[in-house]
Amino acid sequence: MSAAATKSLECPACGGAIELHAAGYSLLHVCQYCGSEIDLVDDTAKLIAQHVEAAKALVVPLGAKGVINGVEWVCIGNLEKHDGWEGWEEFLLFNPYHGYRWLVLTQSGWSLGTPILSTPASPTQDSFRFEGAGMKRIYDPAASEIRRAIGEFYWRVKQGDEVVSTSYVGGGKVLSCEMTGDEYNWTLEEFASSKGIATAFGIEDTGQYPRIGDYPQPHQPNPYSDRAKNWGLVAGIVFLAAMLLSIVLSFGGERREQTFVANPASSARSFSLGTFEVTGRARPFTIKARGEPGDNNWMYLEYTLTNTATDEEIIASQPIEYYYGRDWKEDDRSGTIKIASVPAGRYELVAEIALPEDEVRANSSRGWGGAGGTGRPVTVEVYSNGVFYSNLFLLFLALFAPVLWIALRAANFESARASNYDGEEDDDD
């Protein structure tokens, strides 16, 4: 294809100045001022049909030049089509070394279409493979009408012409086929961002879904799906880092363990778990207890953590219970409590055990009052540090709530996209 010459002429109908950008390639020019059709086959411009239409400002003006993917294109023609449901515009781009491209402007944004000479499939097929991607039909064959044609074209097009078209999507691209009689014209469409088109041609940014339109284009990348993955990855890394931090900070405490047998007959049921040194910063205390209160019975541990320097006391308590019936069981014979933010200092921890017999001996005749006179063992394990899993749970919620939100937006994007496909449910129907 040799370089095309730019040629100027006057519209034979209205006298408007016309500039041909693909002179030698175009067969037809439709005057942008009056809509008259001018034959360009010969050197002289012959009037085919005269119209009187007001000139319409085009989103991409005829003659506008823009660089897309490193190739400079000039806009030479514009078609306005309508399929009875919605309309769209197609701008014919030309480059003497690369041929023709279609810039398609739908209600949701732009596509760049490359005519392909091969026949990927029969347009009667619902699916097929093309360049390694599975293509699935999204729009059933439907007639569309050319409602306006302006500029230069490589075929004789006129207002009112009808074509039947169908579309497939796959691999992030759309393959559309226009059928006129026995002639099939396939075009491979790639999504083009409105900002990119605006920058390329120096026009106003017309926007794209979700700024305009009710649904995204079939090949429009979902802007939320990658973000959801990336955010999820970041949230996961931060969560793991926080877990690691919690574990590291939980090191360095003192550990004590003691087993005590509580005798119902004796009131001496207090025992010391030793002293603990909290240095530098406040730390939590983790106290695990497991005991044998007896069947359908309880025991109650009350801890007193006393600062040996100030005599300030911190009180915490823990029930140890075991109840069961014919088909139920409540087994709380072991449990863990945590005391938060114990300030730096030296502490002694004392545990005191209470039994039912201490207070309700009179009720023992009702079969509730205890496990008899046997000693009831309890083992208490204390660690002067620990991890609050509730903090990690809160952190998980805080980190992954935005991820969930963006993932829902990604899902809504796909849902809106699919709602426009033929054969898919559409809430608007």
Partner: protein, 46 residues
Amino acid sequence: MKHAFLAWCAVCLGLHGAASWYGYSPFGDGVQARNIYSRGGGPMHK
């Protein structure tokens, strides 16, 4: 939006780190009064 999310992650990590450093829990400090246990206990099962 990306920067806002990263800032949010940093704030969350910072708060969690501070809570871990001081052994803090927003769900309570575990401290109680003496003898708060409902004497006699009993199963919750009905």
